[in-house]
């Protein structure tokens, strides 16, 4: 592949950025950034959250205008005033949050805004459907019906529709912003095939991702942004994971998953035959003090639903929960909190944080009645605790504790959610995808924090889609499929193979009984 690429490099880049800079108010987000993509090249773009990747993508796709520097398309200087200009110049973007209309069909979404027309401007639906079919077929998506409503599709299918939509603009350059962030392993493999076939057709791809294996499997070149500066661009053959990570964070990371030895104590949470709906069926397990129990499973296997049931958001319909030996009934998050449970939810923007509120207001939210037991809010105590938590967890906020959390990067937002729950002094901490969308540096910090908390006797349940994370961090791994437990694997026996096999296994409780 490398030699193949050498030939292609002889081609002119399709799009080239030179000396691009961009500021928001006093904050310089991009400083003198240069970057280019050739036709048929996959160029991976790496960087921590807040490094400037999104800004760069938005300049390329016409949503922002650069303050300085040049952008060239096929050697011609260009300025995009709108996203439409970028589309017209052959640049299309598939964003992390998919921007489709759930109530419209696949074909309608693909051609929204540029439907094929018949005489007198009427929309040619026959042509639209046929063209949509062709586009999907060219992506090897024969299983997607063009008349299905988007709302009924899975995340992976929606993403393919987004890609088809991008291609419908005759894109020469496709920007993919963390395309695999919410996909299962199987869908990732399929997406990678799609990306390769696009490359083979001469489409240049800017591939933004945190996941190293994908980058090494796909990319021809890799560029690393840090603090708004382009640190380096290299051929993938000249890069290895450790160098890339140290380029991203500006320091080397000793160990990615530092689960330390913790003393495993007495059981704090005993769950037996817990049920709620289709995705929580007959779940039984025991969680001990100082233990990290990983929960693995494919998307839709019931991992999050189990957490929601434990936390009283979707209360159990049957089964028993014992906290510190006492049978309890948990009907609301408030009751769960009072029993010493804490839940850091999957979607931090929607469920974890009130983004318009400040760091200190978010931090005190779960423990508001304990922090201010009287009639009035105890602002002094709130500020004191916030300053302490920000310092202890290393939350980076320019404006201090009064900064709205919506302005923080993903990793710092996640730290705020975790800190909020630590303020309740929980015995049992449930973390749902604690490092999703979090950059490498913050990820390591969160892992270190988990280890530290476990060593102090906290019992932790960690739900994660990332196998290396589950295997690296957990003392035991509970594997779920279709709402049932399909395996309980000890740390010593946990390998990607054993856990992966259990993730697709059928529950054998019936045969065992």
């Amino acid at each position: 592949m490398a030699s193949n690429f050498e030939q292609q490099r002889a081609l002119e880049p399709y799009v080239r950025l030179a000396g691009i800079s961009k500021s928001f108010g006093p904050v310089k987000v991009l400083k003198d950034v240069s970057f280019d993509v050739c036709p048929g090249e996959i160029h991976a773009l790496l960087g921590e959250n807040g490094a400037g990747k999104s800004t760069m993508i938005k300049i390329l796709s016409g949503l922002y205008q650069a303050d300085g520097g040049v952008m060239e398309i096929e050697g011609q200087p260009m300025r995009f005033a709108t996203a439409k200009d970028a589309n017209a110049a052959g640049i299309a973007t598939v964003y992390q949050e998919l921007l489709l209309f759930p109530e419209l069909t696949v074909a309608e979404n693909i051609f929204l805004g540029h439907y094929p027309r018949k005489a007198m401007g009427r929309i040619d639906w026959t042509a639209a459907r046929a063209k949509a079919r062709d586009l999907l077929d060219s992506l090897d998506c024969h299983d997607l019906d063009v008349d299905t409503r988007i709302a009924t599709l899975s995340v992976a299918q929606r993403q393919r529709v987004e890609i088809a939509k991008a291609l419908s603009h005759k894109a020469s350059i496709l920007i993919m912003d963390e395309p695999t962030a919410s996909l299962t392993e199987k869908d990732v493999t399929r997406l990678m095939e799609v990306v390769r076939s696009l490359k083979a057709r001469g489409v240049g791809i800017i591939y933004v991702s945190h996941r190293m294996p994908e980058i090494f499997a796909l990319a021809d070149r890799v560029s690393v942004l840090r603090d708004g500066m382009m640190i380096d661009t290299r051929d993938i053959t000249e890069a290895d994971e450790a160098t890339l990570v140290s380029m991203m964070v500006g320091r080397s990371i000793e160990q990615l998953f530092p689960k330390g030895e913790a003393k495993i104590g007495e059981p704090v949470l005993e769950v037996s035959k817990l049920n709620h709906g289709r995705l929580v069926q007959n779940i039984s397990f025991t969680l001990r003090r100082g233990e990290v129990l990983g929960i693995a499973g494919l998307v839709g296997s019931g991992r999050t639903e189990l957490a929601l049931t434990l936390f009283g958001i979707t209360p159990a319909t049957s089964g028993e929960i014992r906290v510190k030996g006492k049978p309890v009934s948990i009907r609301t998050p408030r009751q769960a909190r009072d029993l010493g449970l804490a839940y850091v939810p999957e979607d931090r923007g929607l469920q974890g944080l009130v983004k318009s509120m400040s760091i200190n207001e978010n931090l005190s939210m779960a423990a508001l009645d304990r922090m201010s037991p009287g009639l009035f809010l105890n602002f002094t105590e709130e500020a004191r605790r916030a300053v302490e938590a920000v310092k202890r967890l290393g939350v980076r906020a320019r404006a201090g504790i009064h900064q709205p959390v919506g302005e923080l990067s993903g990793g710092n937002q996640q730290k705020v959610v975790i800190a909020k729950w630590l303020e309740t002094r929980p015995d049992i901490l449930i973390l749902d995808e604690p490092t999703r969308g979090v950059d490498v540096g913050a990820k390591a910090e969160i892992h270190a924090m988990m280890s530290d908390l476990a060593a102090k006797g906290l019992a932790i349940i960690m739900i994660s889609s990332e196998l290396p994370e589950v295997i690296g961090m957990s003392d035991r791994i509970l594997v779920m499929n279709n709402g049932q437990v399909t395996g309980m694997i000890d740390r010593a026996d946990a390998t990607p193979e054993t856990v992966g096999a259990a993730m697709t296994a059928q529950a054998k409780s019936k045969e065992a009984a």
Partner: protein, 313 residues
């Protein structure tokens, strides 16, 4: 930040209010007199009480359209309890206020228990409570209250209209409640992100029920003051009051999407509207003209919040 932007909106609105007062003072010599201003305060109280709690409701992301009907129902009940049931007037008024408060509780219960959108739930109770008021009154009005009762709506204490004292006390209490207590913080959190508030263990439903109940109480209290001010009860009292209250709240910078707003903003909004109505009519401009002007100001206020928010983002 939220405090700073709020203050910005309110500062601008306060400046507008000052300019307006000065301009109106030049238009008519009767406008800027102590007697006239105090009288305007008297007229403003009923909408004011309702608007203060409406601020709470709107900050939670809800709305209460039934306040005008609750006011009407309370007014009717005060008369009926006193005249037809023969209760002492004080007890009759107290009982009527209790019923009005319960009406607010019903709103909150329906909204939280059955998940009905506040707009629909209170639109339904708007019709329901007004219908009850009309049914109970049988189109008869009750008059002839004892003189002491008129102190509330027509009298003065220390030279200031009695009900204006009530409004001031109410406003101070509400400001403190919203800015410095747990329930106030919960109200903002629920409006900004109800799911996150619930996931954080805040008592979402309890807070909402409390807010709608308080809204019922404010409307009921306004109803009794109304009766005392106009010396009679009629079942159509308070018709359209909800719109005046919402106008004041939104003009005062409270976001109709929830999560943002303040009592002081609502108060300035009330003053602006009341002085426009009064000043322009003194200057000989017809009521239709005033309505157009208020509409334009509302649009201006919303544009201003949007621009301020965009700049911040």
């Amino acid at each position: 930040m939220s405090l700073r932007t709020l203050l910005r909106h309110e500062t601008i609105l306060a400046l507008v209010a000052v300019v307006l007062l000065v301009a109106l003072a030049f238009q008519s010599s009767q406008f800027f007199t102590g007697a006239n201003l105090l009288n305007q305060g008297r007229l403003m109280t009923e909408v004011g009480l309702v608007a203060i709690i409406m601020t709470f409701v709107i900050i939670t992301g809800g709305i209460d359209l039934s306040v005008g009907s609750i006011l009407g129902l309370t007014a009717i009940l005060t008369g009926v309890f006193w005249q037809n049931l023969g209760l002492p007037l004080m007890a009759a008024a107290g009982l009527a206020i209790a019923v009005g408060t319960f009406c607010g509780f019903v709103n909150g219960f329906v909204i939280t228990r059955f998940g009905v959108p506040p707009l629909i739930a209170t639109l339904a109770t708007l019709a329901l409570y007004r219908g009850l008021a009309e049914g109970i009154s049988q189109a008869r009005s009750v008059r002839g209250y004892p003189d002491w009762f008129y102190v509330l709506g027509q009298g003065n204490i220390l030279g200031v209209p009695t009900q204006l004292w009530i409004l001031i006390a109410f406003a101070i209490l509400a400001s403190i409640l919203l800015a410095a207590t747990r329930i106030g913080r919960s109200i903002y959190a629920i409006g900004a992100n109800e799911v996150a508030a619930f996931f954080s263990g805040l008592p979402v439903n309890r807070t909402k029920i409390a807010v709608y109940t308080a809204s019922g109480f404010a409307a009921a209290l306004a109803g009794v003051i109304f009766v005392s001010r106009v010396s009679t009860t009629r079942s159509d009292m308070g018709t359209g009051l909800e719109l005046d209250a919402i106008t004041a709240v939104v003009l005062g910078g409270t976001s109709i999407y929830g999560g943002r707003g303040s009592v002081i903003g609502t108060l300035i909004g009330l003053v602006v509207i009341q002085s426009l109505k009064n000043g322009l009519s003194l200057a000989g401009i017809k009521a239709e003209g005033t309505a157009v002007l208020i509409g334009l100001m509302l649009i201006g206020a919303i544009l201003m919040t949007t621009v301020l928010n965009k700049r911040r983002a």
